[in-house]
Symmetry: C2
């Protein structure tokens, strides 16, 4: 086991991301002590049952006291409150980071209340699943995935390097980006897809002509691919929508414009236009697979996974 | 091996669906002879290399001569031409079916030109992947999936029963439906999802503020789920859009209305409305998993599949 990177790591919030960090920190021996805190008593109790850390605190302020690295993993709308809570007990020289999906808003909420004697370096691991809570985490979540840091001007290079090293030891590749640019990139690669997914599932749920049971039965023909994203944590996604509003509205407007053009092509039977778009989009998928960000198996390899158990039951 | 259901099965078209049928028919011994025909010479040669059938014919009319079951697996826009080609050589009493994703249009194209002495029973196996061509097929494709038959009034019950039996022996569950209702159901569960997926991938491809390489790098945060559908066969999907126009436009209009309401909730910061929608949609995913139409693994079990090879390369 390598030398721990940090003497004491405090995890504020222990959902999918927080609990995955706890597991990989433990597996890789990245901390002397893992101190966990979360708002809800039953979640804290569950984290303890799962043995995710070394200490469990009802108050974030107790977890962060004396910590060298503090990772805030809460819905982005709660960032300001958490920052205010922990500010008085942060150790001078501690690194404070977060994992929020929006960065400008998190910076606006946290930076003004955190003391000057800590290194606040906002971050965002681009990893996740549709599941939430401490049971949903796993140590491999960050492997081969990107983690984006959005340091503020004047950030201490050594502290930034140490945080980057932390994410690398968790299995991630690290990128650095301007917070505004991060918010724009994420609006298209993550926020818009989730909003679209939630929306189409809602549309299907409201139909009078097609029953819910028909939607479910025949979902394998395309619809179910959207339901994974639409099953993501509602609190997290409400906060993302409220806290990255401008970039999301910009992407949504473009999407709707393009969809109107596509609608028109369908209405007027413009087969060439449809064929051109449907051909162009194939190349992007190929690139994602080549970049190692997707599995190259038909249907996500669902057949491979689903069949042996299915046949027994039938 | 059970008794063959049909003496001779002719497969017209040998892409993903046709070649999957060939493989399961062979594995289950459902035909005495499998005769294959397809329009492109190189596809036919490839089918022969793969050993998918017993006979390979450049002309559909030669494949269907003397066949007891003819399965047309071509883009729906080509159905009329195929029906006209094969009509003169169809054996009296033969069952003729198809696998097209739209049914009203296929019926309008095929029914008028097929002879009265055959049983024309339109069908649609709700199964597929984003891959196409004879190499993409596999015998398990239909297992646990639904196949919808949309028989015309006056269809011979015995012929219909035999076709249902065929699909069941391929591993499918069989449903019967009115063609118009089929087209409405498929518009929401399959056609709209594909159109939305193609559209969002196109929108991302056109951005000036976010580079294509950024979209690819960070696609694991949601976007990539859409790219699977957007990598589907362009010819097939162009034809679907052209041949199920009314139902698709209806669903598209509803989707856009709902998206406008969602857009408004984001603009005005209506967190409760967002939270309500994001909560409601979770239940649908749960039902799809319970119905056995989806794998219950986080992120479609991608971690499970992707990790061992990934770590070696890094």
């Amino acid at each position: 086991m390598a030398e721990p990177l940090f003497e004491r790591i405090a995890l504020v919030g222990i959902g999918l991301i927080g609990s995955s960090i706890a597991r990989v920190v433990r597996r890789e021996g990245l901390a002397g002590t893992i101190a966990i805190s979360t708002r809800r008593a039953e979640t804290l109790a569950r984290a303890k049952e799962l043995g995710l850390g070394d200490e469990y605190h009802a108050r974030a302020t107790d977890a962060v006291a004396d910590a060298d690295l503090v990772i805030v993993s809460v819905p982005v709308g709660a960032s300001g409150q958490v920052a205010a809570d922990i500010a008085p007990s942060l150790k001078p020289g501690a690194i404070v980071t977060d994992v929020g999906s929006t960065k400008r808003s998190v910076i606006e909420q946290m930076a003004p209340v955190l003391p000057e004697h800590v290194h606040f370096i906002p971050g965002h691991p681009i990893a996740g699943t549709e599941h939430s809570g401490p049971d949903a985490g796993f140590a491999e979540l960050f492997e081969g995935r990107w983690c984006i840091l959005t340091p503020l001007p004047g950030t201490d290079p050594q502290a930034q390097e140490k945080l980057a090293q932390f994410w690398q030891r968790c299995g991630s590749k690290v990128d650095t980006m301007d917070p505004e640019h991060h918010d724009m990139v994420l609006a298209i690669v993550s926020h818009l897809p989730h909003i679209i997914a939630y929306n189409i599932v809602g549309t299907a749920d409201d139909l009078e002509t097609v029953t819910k049971s028909e939607v479910i039965k025949y979902s394998a023909s395309g619809f179910r691919d959207f339901t994974r994203l639409a099953a993501s944590d509602p609190t997290m996604w409400r906060d993302v929508c409220l806290h990255n509003r401008d970039a999301i509205l910009e992407m949504l407007a473009r999407f709707m414009e393009d969809l109107s053009a596509l609608q028109r092509a369908i209405r007027w039977g413009d087969g060439d236009k449809l064929f051109d778009l449907f051909t162009r989009t194939r190349a992007i998928r190929r690139s994602i697979i080549e970049a190692g960000q997707e599995v190259d198996l038909p249907d996500f390899g669902r057949q491979v996974v689903i069949h042996p158990p299915k046949r027994e039951e039938d």
